[in-house]
C-alpha cells in the first residue's frame, strides 16, 4: 500500500523508546508519527526535533492539550501549542477534561471549554498550530472529556476561525453514534477536519476502560466506512493509528508497527 498517509501514533507502541521508534518507522517506510508531550519531554524537545527531522519524518499531531478543568490550563496549553510549533506538528489534540472534582454541572463544564479555547485562539494562530477538539467516548465524560460527540466538538469549534480550531475524528470514540456520518460531512463543509485517527473497539473493556482499544481490524468498527466518509469531505491528511492496550504495549514495537500497517491496509484503505 501507499504509506504516504499512514502515521504511527507513539502511544500505540508506548514502551518503544523514541529513537528506536523513529528508526523502526524509517525501516518500514513510514513517513509520519504522532507524538505525546510526555515522551517528547523524556527525550527532550530539541533532541526530538533533530531526531525526527534527521529521519525525514513528519509529526502529524501532538497529544495533548486540553484538561481545561485544571487550574493551570492556560499556561499549560500555551506551552503545548509552543511545543507543537517547535515540532512542526500542524495539530494539537485537545482532550478537554471531565467534570471538576465533585461537580455535576456538565453544561457549565462544556461552556468553560468553549471560553478556554477562545482564549487560546490568538496564540494558536500566531504559532500556526491548529487546536483539534477531540470528542471522547461518553464513558470518559465524567473524568476525561465532557465533549462526547462530534456534533458537540463542531459546536464548540464553530465560533472560531477554522485555521485555529478544528476537530479530531477518532473512530474509537464515535463509532457508536448514528449521527456521526452527518457530522463528518458537516466537519468537511465547515472546514474543521483537522486529523483522522483509527483504533478498533474490542470487548470486554478492562478496568478503568482507558486501555481497551484494539489495532485496526481486531474489533467491530466500520473503519473503511469512516475513512471513506472522511475522504469524501476532501480530507487528504494522515491516518494515524492510536491504540492503547496492555497486550499491544507488551509486544515489540517493530511487530506492533507491522500489525498496524497490515490493519490499515486490510481494514482502512
Amino acid at each position: 500500500m501507499s504509506l504516504a498517509r499512514f502515521s504511527l501514533n507513539s502511544a500505540t507502541t508506548k514502551r518503544w523508546p523514541l529513537p528506536e521508534l523513529v528508526a523502526g518507522c524509517v525501516e518500514a517506510g513510514v513517513r509520519n508519527v504522532g507524538l505525546w508531550r510526555e515522551e517528547v519531554a523524556v527525550h527532550g524537545l530539541a533532541e526530538t526535533v533533530t531526531l525526527v527531522k534527521d529521519a525525514g519524518l513528519a509529526v502529524t499531531s501532538l497529544c495533548r492539550g486540553g484538561f481545561f478543568n485544571q487550574p493551570d490550563w492556560y499556561a499549560e496549553n500555551r506551552r503545548a501549542i509552543d511545543e507543537a510549533a517547535t515540532l512542526g506538528a500542524p495539530v494539537l489534540c485537545l482532550v478537554s477534561g471531565g467534570l471538576p472534582a465533585g461537580g455535576r454541572d456538565v453544561d457549565a463544564a462544556r461552556a468553560h471549554i468553549g471560553e478556554a479555547i477562545g482564549e487560546l485562539v490568538p496564540h494558536a494562530l500566531a504559532a500556526g498550530v491548529r487546536l483539534a477538539i477531540e470528542p471522547l467516548h461518553p464513558m470518559f465524560c465524567a473524568d476525561r472529556c465532557v465533549v462526547a460527540t462530534l456534533g458537540q466538538a463542531l459546536d464548540l469549534a464553530a465560533p472560531h476561525p477554522p485555521e485555529a480550531v478544528g476537530v479530531m475524528v477518532d473512530t474509537y470514540h464515535i463509532w457508536w453514534d448514528d449521527q456521526v456520518w452527518a457530522q463528518i460531512d458537516r466537519a468537511g463543509r465547515e472546514g474543521r477536519l483537522a486529523c483522522f485517527q483509527v483504533a478498533d473497539w474490542i470487548t470486554p473493556l478492562p478496568a478503568g476502560a482507558l486501555l481497551g482499544r484494539g489495532l485496526p481490524g481486531t474489533g467491530c468498527v466500520e473503519l473503511r466506512r469512516f475513512r471513506e466518509a472522511v475522504d469524501a469531505t476532501g480530507y487528504t491528511g494522515p491516518i494515524e493509528v492510536e491504540v492503547f492496550h496492555e497486550d499491544v504495549w507488551s509486544r515489540p514495537g517493530r511487530r506492533v508497527l507491522a500489525e498496524a500497517l497490515a490493519g490499515v491496509r486490510d481494514h482502512v484503505l
Copy 2:
C-alpha cells in the same frame, strides 16, 4: 418523603431473595418493585404473582426482553411479554442486543431491531404490556445494545402505537448526552415515556463495565434535573432505582433499600 412513586428494582439488591425483598419493601413502606425474569423464574412465576399481590406491591417493570440478535428472539420476547402480563407489569424493558458475533454492520443491527419490535407489537397490544426501548450507554453498543441514545430509541418507537412501544429513561445510560433534554421533551410530546430509572455514574469503571453503577447521589449525574425534566412532560409514573455494583450487592438488602430511599429523597425528589 412520599413513597408513592419510589420503586426498588430488584437488581439493586441482587442477593436479597424475593420473599425477603418483598417483606423488606412492605416494612419500609415501599409500594413498588421492578423485577427481572431470571429471579422470577427462580421463585416461580405464579408464586411471584401471589407474593407481590399478597404484599400489596405493584410491579412497575419487568426486565428484560430484547436481545434481538439471538436466534430465538421472537419466542423469547413473546414469553417475556406474557410474563409481564401475568405479573401485572405494565412495562417490559427491552435491551435490544449488540452486534451479531463477528459483525460490524451497526445500521443493519439497528434496522433489525425496528423490524423485530414491529413483529412483537400485536402480541404486546393483546397482552396490554408496553415495550420500553431502553437506550444503553454507548460503551455497551457492541455487545449489549446498539440503541445508544434516547433519540434513536424514539426513532425506533415512532412507527408503532405509543400504547405498544415506549422508551425507558435510565439516567445512567444517557446523562452524558447534550441532546437528552430535547429528547425527553420529545418523548413526552410523542407519548413515549414508559418508565424512569435512576442510577448514578461513578468512576473508575470496573472490568467489563457492567457493574459500575452507583446509588443515587454517589456520582455525578444531575438526577434531580432528570426527574424534573421527566415530570415536566407530564410523567407521573414510578422512579425506579436500578443499580448494579458488587459493593452494593455485598451489603444487606435492607441497608441498600434504606440507602436507595435516602438517595432518592436527597438527590432525585
